[in-house]
């Protein structure tokens, strides 16, 4: 899981994107690049603008200013090509509850005008360990199964870029690990993944690079090691513990409290839940 060579064109390129809702400036000039075949975690608190940025990339929302390109296509001028290249897995598992898991996948395969949609659906069910549940209505699925079906639907047609908006929110720890495994497999297969999360350990676990979105701007981008290096080395007493990503995150967004101590506070609680 190393970043793609520097010469390869970025799969996602965002330049100076701004977006306001009325008086509320949600994005204030976002710059972001995601290398082909890599996983970038977009980290931010609730309301930081992660979903707004994702919706702009998925052509669901128009930016006020700036440009965004997906696989070389401009989201405003070439929306149809962007929709071919990018698949969105939104915050709520968007599956049709009345249809079976298999029918959901066939629906997406037919809408993408793939040959042999039933075979595509069966292969996806197999890949996501849903074959046994394939003929049950998606409304009867557990949270983890729904999310797996949701991700499987996004992968039908093998789009080169996948955007996952808080893919593990509301999942139990085991389902969460399953989703993590899926995301790693995607990147191994060459898919570019943009993943938003408020779970800091999720970013630590999965991402090649991490971008921190705070108050409408990317305040820092780098690998986990680079972000850790931003903080001064642990003070006089030679504590072995390195600063956790959580410490870096809180320090970068200007959160009060001493850095490089054991994680505490609500964020740690949330991560554990």
């Amino acid at each position: 899981m190393t970043a793609a060579p520097a010469l390869a064109p970025a799969a996602l390129r965002v330049r100076g994107v701004t977006k306001s809702f009325g008086d509320l400036a949600v994005l204030r000039g976002v710059d972001l690049e995601v290398a082909r075949g890599s996983i970038l975690a977009l980290l931010g608190s609730n309301g930081a603008g992660k979903t707004t940025l994702v919706r702009i990339l998925a052509t669901l929302l128009a930016a006020d200013a700036g440009t965004a390109e997906v696989d070389g296509h401009d989201v405003a001028a070439e929306a149809p090509q962007v929709r071919e290249s990018l698949s969105l897995t939104g915050q709520f598992a968007a599956v049709d509850e009345v249809l079976t898991g298999r029918e959901n996948l066939i629906l997406v395969a037919r809408l993408r005008h793939l040959p042999r949609p039933a075979a595509v659906a069966d292969a996806m069910l197999e890949r996501f360990a849903l074959t046994a549940a394939g003929r049950r209505r998606a409304g009867t699925y557990s949270g983890g199964m729904r999310r797996r079906l949701d991700i499987a639907m996004s992968l039908v047609g093998d789009p080169p870029v996948i955007v996952l908006d808080e893919p593990t929110t509301g999942l139990d720890p085991q389902s969460r690990l399953e989703v993590w495994r899926t995301i790693r497999e995607l990147a191994t297969g060459g898919t570019t993944v943009l993943l938003t999360t408020q779970h800091l350990d999720e970013a630590e676990q999965l991402a090649d690079r991490i971008a921190i979105l705070h108050e409408g701007r990317i305040v820092h981008t780098g690998t986990l090691a680079e972000l850790r290096a931003l903080l001064p080395a642990a003070p006089v007493e030679m504590v072995q513990k390195q600063p956790s990503l959580e410490d870096v995150f809180l320090a970068l967004i200007g959160h009060d409290g001493p850095p490089a101590t054991a994680p505490s506070g609500p964020t740690a609680q949330e991560t554990a839940s």
Partner: protein, 256 residues
């Protein structure tokens, strides 16, 4: 495939999807038909005997057009409901982020509404036949009636689309249909408008339901439809176009 062929194929695929919803909960067809059937029984067996329509025909034949419009006015609420659920659950956004013709998402819901409502109308019509309704209308007149009912459904369903797209709750998504269900009562559907007090009669004579009811009644009783059919068509096409433009505007606003 050309863009138009793509849009047609996408609409067909998505219409198949929402028709599956209806086949898996056929109770929506029956629920839509129950209130109109209850009204049918109420007017035929309880109130109808006291109503003098001055038309000489059977009362059930007189009131049936209004009952059919009430059936459709209550049935379209399901479209608002299904659309709201699609929005709520994220399916709507998923479809809009996919490489498909965007218009197909709404058209699929609208076409499904036409099929479902015509099915409900058929159920109500069957009950009316059991209760003694008879018509000497020929195949051409019946086709014209079916066309008018389909156009009525199409126009009101686009109103339902606006409601489904803008609603904040499930209840809100269907509340808009209540006034539509009552509109036939202040029309020529159940009693002649001449029997109403002045201002009410004026409203009844100038609202769309009266022209539509009079047209269907004339077609089913083998009378000349006169100018009513043009007034009826103008109303339905007008509502259809305005609601369609409104729905498109709502969608554009959401993407801004």
């Amino acid at each position: 495939m050309t863009a138009a062929a793509h849009a047609l194929a996408d609409t067909r695929i998505l219409t198949g999807r929402s028709l599956k919803h209806i086949l898996r909960s056929p109770d929506t067809i029956i629920t839509t038909a129950i209130t109109p059937i209850a009204l049918l029984l109420l007017f035929v067996f309880v109130l109808g005997g006291a109503i003098d329509t001055g038309s000489g025909g059977s009362y059930i034949a007189y009131m049936l057009p209004g009952i059919l419009l009430i059936t459709i006015a209550s049935g379209i609420a399901y479209t608002a409901y299904r659309l709201f659920m699609d929005k709520q659950g994220g399916v709507f956004e998923r479809l809009r982020s996919m490489p498909i013709a965007r218009s197909s998402v709404l058209w699929a819901h609208v076409l499904t509404s036409v099929v479902a409502n015509l099915a409900s109308v058929a159920v109500v019509l069957a009950v009316a036949l059991l209760l003694g309704f008879r018509s000497g209308a020929g195949i051409g007149a019946w086709l014209a009636v079916a066309g008018i009912l389909a156009l009525f459904t199409l126009a009101l369903t686009w109103v339902a689309v606006i409601a489904g797209l803008t609603a904040g709750s499930v209840e809100g998504a269907s509340a808009f249909s209540y006034p539509l269900i009552f509109l036939p009562f202040i029309s020529s559907a159940f009693v002649p408008t001449q029997s109403m007090p002045g201002p009410v009669a004026w409203f009844a004579e100038h609202q769309p339901v009266t022209a539509i009811v009079d047209t269907i009644r004339a077609l089913l009783s083998r009378q000349s439809v006169g100018g009513d059919i043009w007034v009826a068509l103008a109303w339905m096409v007008g509502v259809l176009v305005l609601a369609w433009i409104g729905a498109a505007a709502v969608q554009r606003r959401a993407a801004r």
